[in-house]
Symmetry: C2
Subunit: 345 residues, 2 copies
Amino acid sequence: MKIAVDAMGGDYAPTEVVKGVEMARDRYSDMHFQLYGPKDQVEPLIANNERITVIHTEQVIEMGEEPVRAVKKKKDSSMVKAAEAVKNGDADAFLSGGNTGALLTAGLFIVGRIKGIERPALTTTLPMVEGPNSKFVMLDVGANADSRPFHLYQYAFMGNYYAKAVLGIKNPRVGLLNNGTEADKGDKLHRAVHDLLAANHDLNFIGNVESRELLNGAADVVVTDGFTGNAALKSTEGTALTMLNLIKSSIMNGGLTDKLGAYLLKNTFKEINTKLDYSKYGGAVLIGVKAPVVKMHGSSKATTVRNTLGQIHTMVESNTVGQIVDYFNAHADAMKAIKQEAKNN
Amino acid sequence: MKIAVDAMGGDYAPTEVVKGVEMARDRYSDMHFQLYGPKDQVEPLIANNERITVIHTEQVIEMGEEPVRAVKKKKDSSMVKAAEAVKNGDADAFLSGGNTGALLTAGLFIVGRIKGIERPALTTTLPMVEGPNSKFVMLDVGANADSRPFHLYQYAFMGNYYAKAVLGIKNPRVGLLNNGTEADKGDKLHRAVHDLLAANHDLNFIGNVESRELLNGAADVVVTDGFTGNAALKSTEGTALTMLNLIKSSIMNGGLTDKLGAYLLKNTFKEINTKLDYSKYGGAVLIGVKAPVVKMHGSSKATTVRNTLGQIHTMVESNTVGQIVDYFNAHADAMKAIKQEAKNN
């Protein structure tokens, strides 16, 4: 399999990106990498160029740039060129740690939507601290701010395939993120989505779930609109980080007793960090486009790059995208009917 | 001041409610309490009935009941009677730990909206772990699932007065919870709210804030729609609780080293618990109605009841509601113009 990597995306690019690619190359013998970026910056970083090709690009899309304009104007940027490689069939998937908006734009307009899918969604994998599995997926976490019921209805199917193929969950429990668990809860949008999902029998739909219970295994696939999903994800990240910092600073400011206590508990703290660190699951995937388009955190170091390439390996190997394409092809008429129904309500 | 208390609201009612009321009575010499509930259940729990009157009610609204129907049908319930006492001027504020929906309904339809306010909002106080203050307010966290721009615009003013009067913050920084900090971020709703707030000069509006930064002091007043606010609040609560449980279970399942470490760190853990425990700030306030209507957590014990009564004491003493009434009266024409403007956009 061939992976197009934006070598210039992320705070530690290109150094850590190249390192991570070499680590993935050593781990996955069937992976070939195309690194997009200025040759003079990227090539000197490569220790061993086995299965690694550098493709020269002149421009870089910066973090602060307005996404749509940047993708339109910077035709020779590492991000645009990597996306085009996927579009042209020269690569099977595309990875970047750069400007999220630009990546979504490139995914949507260059790689392109799967036929029948209205809105690709950004999908993230999070740890399930308690519950039947060790992780769950949540989508959309920010590709679309304004959503209609039919969009979320489609997310459920995409998330279902992702959870099966990539997380290896056999019959994923699909839940709708809502402001209460009862069937009639929510705003207009979420009440409509609940009704659409409850009427479908291809999914293991378990009803509404609340954000309080996400980490405790409320569902394996959490369906949400991009605005709420973004808020819930960032609240979760922010709270976890704040608590870890609080513990750290309390210990630092404490006396010898605290420091000794922390030393004795270092394995416990390490275990908690490991459990909560979801960078090991890879990046956020734009699902609903014709190939895996994956955004890793801007702060990704080599290990995260390698992990994300491992996630991409699973996606390409299991043909997650192909399965989604097949489902939406086979159910095209039913989807159209539901879309119409959702509009009429 | 006279406070109407639903003696039957909450998991530990009436026992802990009565205890908490007695604690508050001993702390605040100007507070008089009306306890609504079945006399035979409530009266035997009172150790000293100084400034405490029990008002007999027959019915109790249960946690699972459909709110609007329950409030309509159970005319002789502790909750409805307590709300009516406020409406009739027999009490200055109303506290319950019972069915949230029923409390919101009673607040809205019995106590009644302040003239000029379209939608009262549920307001919660959360700890600011870093930043210029020790706490901040967020509203709406769940009174209204479907919202229009003008509703959020009004929340900003109500939150502003609450932060000044109850939290004692002089010039509260008002932020809009959004999916990015840039001015053009968000869905239609939040983009419109941003523009309305940015055009106003009575508030110290600092623009958009993200949920990742809430606990780190992003703003003193966080304005949000009830659906997103509910998700952000519950994610924050859920994550904090999950992490504390994770630490606890790691230590319990660990060896002697871990247990000794935990013992040495017990002050640190206590400090963190204290910092994050926002039950000390009281309950969630329905702002925008004619008197303080306060919901405390269903799991509240006596200390939380006392704290919430302390919060109510501050609200009544500072005349928070009166200040809001005055502002909306003085700006009635401007509000109408903005409402029209928001509709036209």
